[in-house]
C-alpha cells in the first residue's frame, strides 16, 4: 500500500490543531510557532501532491478508498483531479500567511493575569488549522457523503473564529462590537447551515435513488459514474432537478451567489482580516469547487436545465457586488462586496460550459484567493494601525507609510484585474469562454470590470492620497513580519500574471473531463464570420 498522501495533507493540520490546543497557557508564543510549523508541513505535503500529480494520467489520482459506514454506503474515498490538486495547494499556501498576519489577533483576548483554562491564542491557531484540515479534505473527497460531512463540519470552527476573534476596531465600544460580531457569526452559521441541511435532504435523496436502482446505496463518484456509463443508473429528470437544486443551493450560499450572499459582508466585516481571508479565499472556494465537481458531474442534465438561471444570477452577482462595493464606507465590507462580484465571475465561468470558461474559473479561484489575501491582509494592517475600518478616517497614508500604500495598490490593482497581474488572465478567460456561447451575458459582465476599477481606485485615492489626516500621522510602515506576509503573495500575483501555464496545464484535463460529463464541447469559432 502506498503512502496515503492525501490523508496526510488533511491529517497533519488536524493533528496540528490538537497539538496547538494542548500547549499550556503560558507558552503562547510556542503555540504560534507550532501551528505555523504544522501549516508549513501541510504546504510541503500539498507541494508533493502537485508534484506527484500527472496531468496526463487518470482523472482522479493518489486515490484512497476504505470502507467507512457501510450501512449508509459511505466510503472514505479520496482523490484529486487537476482542479482539486490546485485547490489543495492554494489552501495550504494561504494558511501560513493567514497565521503570520494574524500573529497577534488573539492577544487582546488574553487576560492580564495568567489563567490556566483560558487560552485564546492556542484556540485561534488550533481553529485555523482545523478549518484548513476540513477544507483540504473536502477538496479531496470523491464520496459525496464524506464531502458533505466536512462541508458542514467546517462551519463550526469557522463560526468560532468569526464570533470569538472579531474585529475590535472602532469607536463603537466593546459591547456594540460584541453584539455585531455575534450577529455576524450567527448569520454566517445559519445561512450556511440552512443551505447545508437542504443539501442533506438531497444527499439522502441521492442515496434513495442509487439504492433503488443499484440495489445498494452509494455516494462514490466513481461508482456512480461507472453505473451511469453501464446504463444501470439513470436519474428521473424531475428527481435530478430537485437533487441538483438541493446541492446547488448549499454551494450558492457558500460561494456566495446573489441573493444568498448577505452573510458575507457581515462575516468579513466583523472578523479580523486574516479570518476574513480564510472565509473568502479558502472556505468559500469549496462552494464554487463543489459546483464543478458535484453539481456538474452528478447532475449533468439538471445543470444544463439550470444554466440560464444560474448565469443570470452570476451576472447579477457581478454587477450587484461591484455596485455595492462602490458605495461602501467600510474598507472590509468593500472588499467583501468585491468578492461577491468576483464569485459571480467564477460561477459564470463554470456554467458557461466552455473549456476556457471553466479553466478560467478554476484559475480565478486561485488568483482571487491570492489577490484578495494580499489586499485584505494589507487592509488589515492598515486598519489595526488606525483602529478604524471607515474609509473616511484615512487619507495621505502613502506619505507616511509608502510601502504599505504600495502593496495596497498592487493588491487593489490585482483585484481590478490589471493586465500583468494574475487575475487578469482568469477574468479574460472567463469572459472569452462566456462570450463564445453567451455574447450578451459576456458583454454585460464586462461592466463588472469597469466598476471594479472604480471601487478600487476610489478606495486607494481616498485612503492613501491627499493630505495626511490626523489619525494617520506617525503611522508606522509595514514591519518585517507583515512584509513577509505580503511580499510572497505579490510575487505570486506577478508570476501567475505572466506565466499561468503551470496552473492551466494541470487544470485543463480535469475541465475537459467535466465538460464531457455534461456532454458539452466548445463552440466552434465561426470562420465565415472571421473571413468577412
Amino acid at each position: 500500500m502506498s503512502f496515503p498522501l492525501l490523508t496526510a495533507t488533511a491529517l497533519v493540520p488536524a493533528v496540528g490543531a490538537v497539538a496547538t490546543a494542548a500547549v499550556p497557557a503560558a507558552r503562547r508564543t510556542a503555540a504560534k510557532w507550532l501551528a505555523l510549523a504544522f501549516s508549513l508541513a501541510t504546504l510541503v505535503l500539498a507541494g508533493a501532491v502537485l508534484a506527484r500529480f500527472d496531468p496526463g494520467g487518470d482523472r482522479y489520482q493518489l486515490t484512497e478508498s476504505h470502507a467507512w459506514i457501510s450501512s449508509f454506503g459511505v466510503r472514505y474515498e479520496l482523490g484529486v483531479d487537476g482542479i482539486g490538486a490546485v485547490m489543495v495547494a492554494l489552501t495550504a499556501l494561504l494558511v501560513p500567511f493567514v497565521m503570520l498576519a494574524g500573529w497577534h489577533d488573539a492577544d487582546p483576548l488574553e487576560e492580564p493575569e495568567p489563567n490556566r483554562r483560558w487560552r485564546p491564542t492556542q484556540g485561534f491557531f488550533a481553529l485555523v488549522l482545523l478549518v484548513e484540515a476540513m477544507v483540504v479534505i473536502s477538496f479531496e473527497a470523491t464520496d459525496v457523503f464524506l464531502f458533505y460531512v466536512f462541508f458542514e463540519a467546517m462551519l463550526i470552527p469557522m463560526y468560532f473564529l468569526i464570533g470569538g476573534f472579531g474585529d475590535r476596531a472602532g469607536e463603537r465600544g466593546e459591547d456594540e462590537a460584541a453584539k455585531q460580531r455575534s450577529y455576524a457569526a450567527v448569520k454566517f452559521l445559519l445561512y450556511n447551515l440552512a443551505g447545508g441541511l437542504v443539501m442533506l435532504a438531497a444527499v439522502v435523496g441521492l442515496y434513495a435513488v442509487t439504492a433503488g436502482q443499484l440495489g445498494e446505496g452509494t455516494f462514490s463518484l466513481a461508482r456512480i459514474a461507472e453505473a451511469r456509463a453501464a446504463g444501470d443508473l439513470a436519474f428521473d429528470p424531475t428527481v435530478e432537478k430537485l437533487l441538483f437544486l438541493g446541492f446547488f443551493l448549499a454551494f450558492a450560499v457558500k460561494a456566495p451567489l446573489w441573493p444568498l450572499h448577505t452573510w458575507l459582508p457581515n462575516a468579513m466585516g466583523e472578523s479580523t482580516a486574516p479570518v476574513a481571508v480564510l472565509i473568502t479565499a479558502v472556505v468559500d472556494k469549496v462552494g464554487t469547487f463543489a459546483m464543478l465537481r458535484f453539481c456538474l458531474q452528478l447532475f449533468p442534465g439538471a445543470s444544463e436545465w439550470a444554466t440560464p438561471v444560474v448565469l443570470v444570477l452570476a451576472v447579477v452577482s457581478i454587477l450587484y457586488g461591484a455596485l455595492l462595493a462602490v458605495g461602501q464606507r467600510d474598507i472590509k465590507r468593500l472588499i467583501a462586496y468585491a468578492s461577491v462580484s468576483h464569485f459571480g465571475f467564477i460561477v459564470l465561468g463554470i456554467f458557461a460550459m466552455t473549456s476556457q470558461g471553466q479553466t478560467g474559473a478554476t484559475l480565478y479561484m486561485v488568483n482571487h484567493g491570492i489577490s484578495t489575501a494580499a489586499l485584505m491582509l494589507v487592509a488589515g494592517f492598515l486598519i489595526s494601525r488606525r483602529g478604524s475600518r471607515l474609509i473616511a478616517d484615512f487619507g495621505g497614508v502613502q506619505k507616511v507609510a509608502p510601502v504599505l500604500a504600495g502593496t495596497f495598490l498592487i493588491g487593489g490593482l490585482a483585484t481590478l484585474s490589471l493586465p500583468g497581474l494574475a487575475p487578469f488572465v482568469s477574468e479574460f478567460l472567463v469572459l472569452v469562454g462566456t462570450f463564445s456561447r453567451y455574447p450578451v451575458l459576456g458583454i454585460v459582465a464586462t461592466f463588472g470590470i469597469v466598476l471594479a476599477a472604480l471601487y478600487v481606485l476610489v478606495l486607494y485615492q481616498r485612503t492613501m492620497t491627499g493630505p495626511v489626516r490626523d489619525g494617520v500621522r506617525g503611522m508606522p510602515d509595514l514591519r518585517a513580519r507583515e512584509l513577509a506576509v505580503v511580499a510572497p503573495l505579490i510575487a505570486l500575483l506577478l508570476f501567475l500574471g505572466v506565466f499561468p501555464r503551470p496552473v492551466t496545464d494541470i487544470v485543463d484535463p480535469a475541465v475537459r473531463q467535466t465538460l464531457s460529463d455534461v456532454h458539452k464541447t466548445d463552440p466552434k469559432p465561426d470562420l465565415t464570420e472571421a473571413a468577412k
Partner: protein, 552 residues
Amino acid sequence: MSTTADVHSLWTAAADIHLAADAIQAPKIEYAQLSPTLIVLAAAIIGVLVEAFVPRRARHGTQLALSVTGLAAAFAAVVTLAAGGHATTKAQLAAMGAVAVDGPALFLQGTILLVGILGVLTFAERRLEPAEKGGTLDSFTAQGAAVPGSEDEKQAVRAGFTTTEVFPLVLFAIAGMLVFPAAADLLTLFVALEILSLPLYLLCALARRRRLLSQEAAVKYFLLGAFSSAFFLFGVALLYGYAGTLNLGGIASVIEGGAQLTPALADTTGNDALLLIGGAMVVTGLLFKVGAVPFHSWTPDVYQGAPTPVTGFMAAATKVAAFGALLRLLYVALPGLRWDWRPVMWGVAILTMVVGAVVAVTQTDVKRLLAYSSIAHAGFILAGVVATSPEGVSSVLFYLAAYSFVTVGAFAVVTLVRDAGGESTHLSGWAGLGRRSPLVAAVFAVFLLAFAGIPLTSGFAGKFAVFKAAAEGGAGVLVVVGVIASAVAAFFYIRVIVLMFFSEPKAEGPTVAVPSVLTSTVIAAGVVVTVVLGILPQYFLDLAGQAGVFVR
C-alpha cells in the same frame, strides 16, 4: 366504560378456561431469557430492604453499589443473551407469549441499562450542593413527605436525612422500562407502563430545591400520565373486543383475517370500528410517553420541575422504552393497518418536528429548552417509525441509543451550573460560561452540536439513518420537513453556544461546581459515545441492523 370492558374480558377469560379445562398446563417461564428484568427487580427489592435495615449512614453507599451492580449484571445478561443468538436466530416469545426476547428488545434493554447506570451515577452525586455542617447533600429532598417550608422539613434537613429511596425507585422504573419495549401482549405492556411510570412520578416530586415547582411537575405528570393510561387501557379493551386476544401477534393475524374467532366474541370480532378506535387510543397512550405533539404539553413543565438527574434519566430512558413499545405495537400488531396509521403518524411526525423546533426558539430556561428539543427529536424519530421497513426499525434503534447518551450527558452538565439558589437554569446565567469554564462550556457545546445534528457527532449519524430510512420508505416529504425543522432547531442550539462563548459573563453569574468522579464519568461517557458514534458508527449501525427484526 372501562369497567364494563374489564368485566367483559374477565368473563370471556373464564369461559376460555372452562372450554379448555383439560389443556391447562403449568406456565413455562424462561428464567434465563427474562434474567435482565429479574435481576433489576431483585436489586430493587433488595434496595427496599436496605432502606429498612441498613443504618442511615451507610445507605447511600450501599444503595449506589447495589444499583450499579444490579444494572451492570443485567447488562451482562443482555449481552450474554444477544451473544447466544437470542437477538437473531433464537429470537422467541418467552413467559407464555407475554414477553418477546428478540433483537429490538435486547438492543433497547441494553441501551436502557447503560443509560440507567449513568442515571444512577448522577443520582448519587453529592459534591455539587454546598454542604451544610460537613454533611454531603444530593439533589433530592431531605424528606419527601415534609411540606415545603414547614418545620418538619427544617428538622429533616437539620437531621441530615437523605432520600436514598430514589435508588430502589429508579430500579423499579428501569425494570418497567425493560419490559416495556419487550412486551408481546397488551396487558403486559400496560403493566410495564405503570411500573415504569409510578416511580417516575414520585422521583419528579423529590427535588431538594424549588420543591413546590417539583411537586407541581409531579402532579402534572401524574394527572396527564393517568389520563393517558386510561386512554391506553380503554384502547386495549377495544382491541380485545376486536381480536379476542391481547397478544400482539394474535391481533395481527385477526387483522389479516387468518385467525380463528373466539366464539364468545363472535359479535364484535372483526369489527373495524373497534380496531381503529382501540388502535388509536393505544397509540395515543404511547405517543404521550414519547412526548409527541399534540400529547407533549407535560414535557416542558415536568422536565423543568423534576430534579435534574431525574430529568436526564427520564428524558433518555423513557423515550427509548416508549419508542420501543410504539415500534413493536405498530410493526407487530398493526402492520396490516399501516395504510390507516401511516398518514396519521406522518401528521404527528410533522407536527412534532415543527412545533418542537419552533417553540424551543422562544425558551429562556435550559431545561425547558432541552424539553422542547426532546419533542423535536421525537418527531425525527417518528420519521423513522413511519418508514415501515427493517431499516426504519434499525435507524430508530440507533437514533435512540445516540440520543439517550447525549441527553444524559447534557442534563449532567446542567447540574453543574449553580448559583446561590441551586441550579441556575435560566439562560441569562449561562452568558460567558465559555470564558469562566471553557471545558464545561465546550462539552456542553459538543452535546448541543450533537442535538443539532452537525456531522461528526452521533446526532448526525442518527439523523441521517432516520432520514435515509424515511426516504427509502417513500416519505420524502418528511425528510424535507425534518431538514427544515433541523435548521430551525439549529438556531436555538447555536444561540446557547453564542451565549456561552461570545457574551460577557455577568458579575453575579453562576459558578460551575466541580463534580465528583460520578458526574464526571457520566459526562465523559456522554462525550465519548457522542464522538465515537459520530465518527465510527458502523459497528453500532450493524448492531442495530441485526436487531431490526421483531419476533411475532
